[in-house]
């Protein structure tokens, strides 16, 4: 029986694990946290269908059907080639010997504190998109003082498309997330005024343009093209925003009760430590460098090491799952040859 270590039990890891274990391989699913599900486990509902994240995640876990051995609270301390196999030492000195390593370490969410001028962690009514999902989950979307927001703004591209914080790349999912969240706010509080401050609206995928259309025609969400230069706080703890309305060619001032920062995706720290251990390379954006962008996107430059999911760059959930299935079938073919 061939064995595989999958590093990271987010949705890519779970999906690849269920495919590969179904094919009869021994799968170790290594997770540094006490639970599986990664970022999706923190989410309330998903674009574009508003399906509950929990339902999607439970379906994936059900598919896994306890076939893989999930190793919780485990981080890779050491790993290296041992003859034709890989030796992995995990926290707690657990030792694994496997034929293939599949990296599914995913992404880290940009730490909003690094964009100090937006006031996260300084002003009490500045939150991130992840914080908002937690509020949706708890059915408690309120400002710090406990009141529902009467005015709310989303700032797109926080930590993305910003060379000042070292990220030139677009995180791909935050435009659609911002439009989804804007509609959800309006659903919850129809009288709340909602503003989306964007640089470009990247509604690229199927049904996304419909979401945008609905945000305008049904919910009257205000889209303002311009990047927020800075946020301030007034004596009522509201957030004062200054931007340029680039389509009007005029500076714009706006005060809101709650400000939501659409924090982007960054290459994950776990993956960076794996790079040196396994001889992997990152591109300039920090995400893993694949053997070929078109034809070998799940292959690393190290024989026997494969990639799936957002460790090779930002992806939506359907893209991540498709990538995981592709990787699983390639790993299977590799093990059979």
């Amino acid at each position: 029986m061939k064995s595989i270590a999958i590093i990271g039990a987010g949705i890519a890891g779970i999906e690849a694990a269920s495919r590969l274990s179904k094919q009869g391989h021994k799968v170790y699913l290594i997770e540094k946290n006490p639970e599986i599900g990664g970022h999706v486990a923190q989410w309330d509902r998903l674009f574009p269908s508003q399906e509950e994240a929990e339902i999607v995640l439970n379906d994936l876990i059900k598919n896994l059907n306890n076939r893989a051995e999930v190793l919780f609270n485990s981080e890779v301390q050491h790993c290296g080639k041992k003859d034709r196999q890989f030796e992995i030492i995990l926290t707690g000195n657990k030792n694994l010997l496997v034929d293939v390593i599949l990296v599914t370490t995913g992404f880290d969410t940009f730490r909003a504190q690094r964009k100090e001028e937006y006031g996260y962690g300084i002003y009490e009514n500045v939150i991130t998109s992840t914080d908002l999902e937690q509020m949706f989950k708890k059915h408690n979307v309120v400002c710090k003082n406990g009141n529902p927001p009467k005015r709310l703004a989303f700032v797109h591209c926080v930590g993305s498309r910003d060379e000042k914080v070292g990220n030139r790349h677009c995180s791909k999912v935050c435009c659609a997330t911002a439009v989804k969240q804007a509609c959800e706010i309006k659903e919850l509080y129809p009288d709340c005024e909602v503003f989306n401050l964007y640089m470009d609206l990247r509604m690229f995928d199927r049904h996304f343009e419909d979401m945008y259309h609905e945000a305008q025609s049904k919910y009257y969400v205000n889209f303002i093209r311009g990047r927020l230069s800075e946020a301030g706080e007034n004596k009522d703890h509201q957030v004062v925003l200054k931007t340029e309305d680039t389509l009007a060619g005029k500076p714009l001032k706006l005060t809101v009760d709650l400000l939501v920062l659409m924090t982007g995706m960054e290459a994950c720290d776990t993956q960076k430590t794996l790079n040196t251990k396994l001889g992997l390379r990152s591109d300039t954006d920090g995400f893993l460098s694949t053997k070929d962008v078109f034809t070998q996107n799940n292959f690393s430059n190290t024989d026997g090491v494969f990639f799936a999911g957002t460790c090779t760059g930002p992806k939506t959930i359907p893209e991540t799952l498709a990538d995981a299935r592709a990787a699983a079938s390639l790993v299977n073919a590799y093990l059979m040859s």
């Binding site: 025609s217 009257y220 093209r225 309305d245 389509l247 009007a248 005029k250 500076p251 714009l252 001032k253």
Partner: protein
Amino acid sequence: MINFGYKRNESATLDLDVDNSELYKKLLKEEPSAATCISCGTCASTCSTGQFTDFNLRKIMLLCKRGDTQSLEPIINRCMLCGKCQFACPKGLNTRHIVLILNKHLHAGKIS
């Protein structure tokens, strides 16, 4: 008063903290398609009036939305209602109706 040789300029900032949305709300009520403009500028690029004056329907609708209605008043009646923009608009906005509604409210029905 002594003239010190300087004057105070009006602020050029769009201040969304001042509620000036009355005209836009009327527009949406009478022509809901106005909400779905994506500011692509197809209308403005096809408009003959725009080739010779600073009439720009995209910008007019945007300024109306932002509550900057003062600047619209002197220019809204430059539109010839030829309808070229309506053929071109990718979102199917009823642009001529929009111009007529804005003109009606800004000039109380007077065509000058």
